[in-house]
């Protein structure tokens, strides 16, 4: 059978046209968040003075960014897949307290407390995933439910076991070094763990074939299932990843501060979602990138900490973050339109 297209007429897929390359760059999901990050960096670079630009200044927002970032990355994957996870806000203190009670209150080895805490995160994630895949209830509602459940259990059991709402833990030197130390006296070791997670999830989403499944899941769950993607296993896996990451942050917090409080971690719920949205992930799912989420996290943390380096009222920081979020949602929409209208030269005529 004669095919109408000869191989010579197939245009080269890899183009080197500079204008097009720039145009293509502008349509990537992380472009908007990159511009936002540069803007806030310049703003606080000018108004924050030299101390903001110093190593100590950088450490203050990088430390914050690493903790939020470790949670924002899996939350971002969930949002690309069309789901939300609110329960991280309760998993963080629950994991902190589990580690503190097992290793601090009962004096068992640190690794046992850490394993128990991480296992708890995985379990909450598994329950979330199971409910989301077995029912038609939106994940927002389900994870609010599991958040309150986890919170109540944490509070109740902590008071019952330890007799107070705070438990202290003095970690072994090795544990402290791996999870709770400061490099150069000011950079939390969590930053390195964040980098590891960035690399791992970049590989998962953009390099491995599973990334394609995540995008497809967020694009259209029904069609994704029809083409044979194991949508249920994938969803449960993503929820377990976010539960695990939240528990990891909880564990590293207890190693850094050497005590665990029942009411820590609530701020992470909205902060992580904001980082993801500022990072260019669409609320409707199906679009976003790891690099974008990292930019979004950095942007958020720079504003969050940078405000203390200026002479401005710290409350202005919240206003800036709120404005950034709205701008991000608007530009995300614009960038998506750009991405959709993108076509090579001949297609542009239609």
């Amino acid at each position: 059978m004669a095919h109408p297209v000869a191989s010579t007429s197939t245009p080269a897929l890899e183009r080197t046209h500079p204008g097009l390359a720039l145009g293509r760059l502008a349509r990537r999901p992380e472009s908007g968040s990159f511009l936002g990050m540069v803007a806030v960096l310049l703003f606080f670079g000018v108004f924050g003075g030299s101390s903001f630009m110093s190593a100590a200044g950088a450490a203050s927002w990088l430390n914050i960014a690493s903790e939020i970032g470790i949670i924002a990355l899996p939350i971002g994957l969930l949002m690309i897949a069309g789901e939300l996870d609110i329960s991280v806000g309760a998993v963080i203190p629950a994991a902190s307290l589990t580690a503190a009670i097992v290793s601090g209150h009962y004096g068992l080895p640190d690794w046992l407390g850490i394993t128990a805490a991480l296992g708890l995160g995985l379990a909450v994630g598994f329950i979330n995933g199971l409910f989301v895949t077995k029912t038609t209830i939106p994940s927002l509602i389900i994870t609010i439910g599991t958040m309150f459940g986890t919170m109540g259990l944490t509070l109740g059991l902590t008071v019952k076991i330890a007799g107070s709402t705070g438990v202290s833990l003095v970690p072994d030197p090795l544990t402290k070094e791996i999870l709770g130390d400061y490099l150069d006296g000011m950079f939390q070791v969590t930053i390195l763990w964040w980098v590891v997670l960035i690399a791992g999830l970049f590989w998962l989403l953009h390099v491995s074939p599973i990334g394609n499944w995540i995008y497809a899941l967020g694009g259209d769950k029904e069609s994704a299932r029809n083409v044979g993607i194991p949508t249920k296993r994938l969803t449960i896996g993503l929820f377990m990843l976010s539960g695990f990451s939240a528990a990891f942050v909880g564990v590293s917090e207890v190693m850094v501060y050497q005590s665990a409080q029942v009411l820590a971690g609530q701020s992470f719920i909205f902060n992580s979602i904001m980082c993801v949205v500022i990072g260019g992930v669409l609320l409707t799912g199906g679009f976003g990138s790891i690099v974008g989420i990292v930019f979004g996290t950095l942007t958020f943390s720079i504003v969050n900490q940078g405000i203390y380096f200026t002479s401005l009222d710290p409350n202005v920081g919240s206003i800036i973050i709120g404005a950034l979020l709205l701008i991000a949602v608007l530009t995300n929409d614009t960038f998506r339109q750009l991405a959709l209208s993108y076509s090579s030269k001949r297609g542009g005529q239609s």
Binding site: G228, A339, L340
Partner: protein, 281 residues
């Protein structure tokens, strides 16, 4: 005429959901290199029929045969595995994915080994673009373009090319031209002809008689879940087919039903639900 054995055949298929009969005694056959055009108005049972062919629904009674052998699909993926591909009205359903990625979704080409297999973007894009261009859609030349940026006709073409690439023998096209303009629709019709030339059996579902007549070899008109007419190309005129589809008979039935209802309900006309119920699916 065409005396090749049918690839897909329905024999006296009935389908009911609880007390509601949706399909009555449907017998159809479609051969390789032939387009079976299924015409029917909204609510005639077309989508139930498609879902039965695609393995979503099991017939309540009757047989489905492939290559003369009775088969029972366990689900849509079973039907797909046997070479039955369904393309829906809006074609590609992942508007924010690139052409290459959506073409290979679920069966991504990889390179590397073991757990370090990576998605081979370049190869995916090349194969996807070539498959679509082989169907005559030469405007698609970049596999990184997002599916949502394509025209409706191009999306349909992409979906059909995808089905053919993955070895479909029977192509079920659900209203492929319904949402398209005149020019785009003619694109899709050309592609249906190309699929037919390649020896696929095509089931083309539409309510647009002109589109059906442009590609169909064999026609079946579906009215309220039953085949009201079954004829070959050239046996009926466009007007005759349109009349059949609109069904003078159905209109008369409806009027009788409304009158009957009003007599027993103190002159109140029935709610639309009551009238639609028998045809619901």
């Amino acid at each position: 005429m065409n005396d090749k054995p049918a690839i897909l055949e329905l024999k006296n298929v009935n389908k009911s959901f609880g007390p509601i009969d949706v399909l009555h005694d449907i017998s159809l056959r479609v051969r390789a290199g032939e387009v079976l055009c299924l015409l029917g108005d909204n609510g005639a049972g077309k989508s139930t029929l498609i879902k039965t062919l695609a393995g979503v629904h099991k017939p309540t009674s009757g047989q489905i045969l492939m290559d003369g052998q009775p088969v029972a699909f366990t689900g849509p993926s079973d039907a797909q595995g046997r070479g039955i591909a369904t393309v829906h009205q809006f074609g590609g359903t992942f508007p924010l994915m690139s052409i290459g990625r959506s073409f290979f979704v679920g069966v991504e080409p990889t390179k590397g080994w073991g757990p370090f297999k990576i998605y081979d973007r370049k190869r995916a894009n090349e194969i996807a673009v070539k498959a679509v261009r082989d169907f005559g859609i030469t405007r698609i030349d970049d596999g990184d373009r997002l599916v949502g940026g394509l025209s409706g006709g191009e999306r349909q073409s992409l979906a059909i090319a995808r089905a053919v690439h993955f070895g479909a023998r029977v192509l079920i096209l659900d209203e492929p031209t319904a949402a398209l303009g005149v020019k785009q629709a003619s694109h899709v019709l050309r592609i249906v002809n190309e699929a037919k030339k390649r020896g696929l059996a095509v089931v083309f579902i539409t309510h647009q008689v002109m589109h059906g007549m442009a590609v169909g070899d064999h026609f079946a008109v579906l009215i309220r879940g039953a085949i009201a007419a079954d004829f070959r190309k050239g046996e009926k005129s466009r007007e005759e087919i349109t009349d059949l589809m609109a069904g003078g008979e159905t209109m008369a039935d409806l009027e009788a039903q409304v009158e009957g209802y009003m007599e027993t309900h103190e002159g109140h006309p029935p709610s639309p639900k009551v009238l639609e119920a028998p045809a619901a699916h």
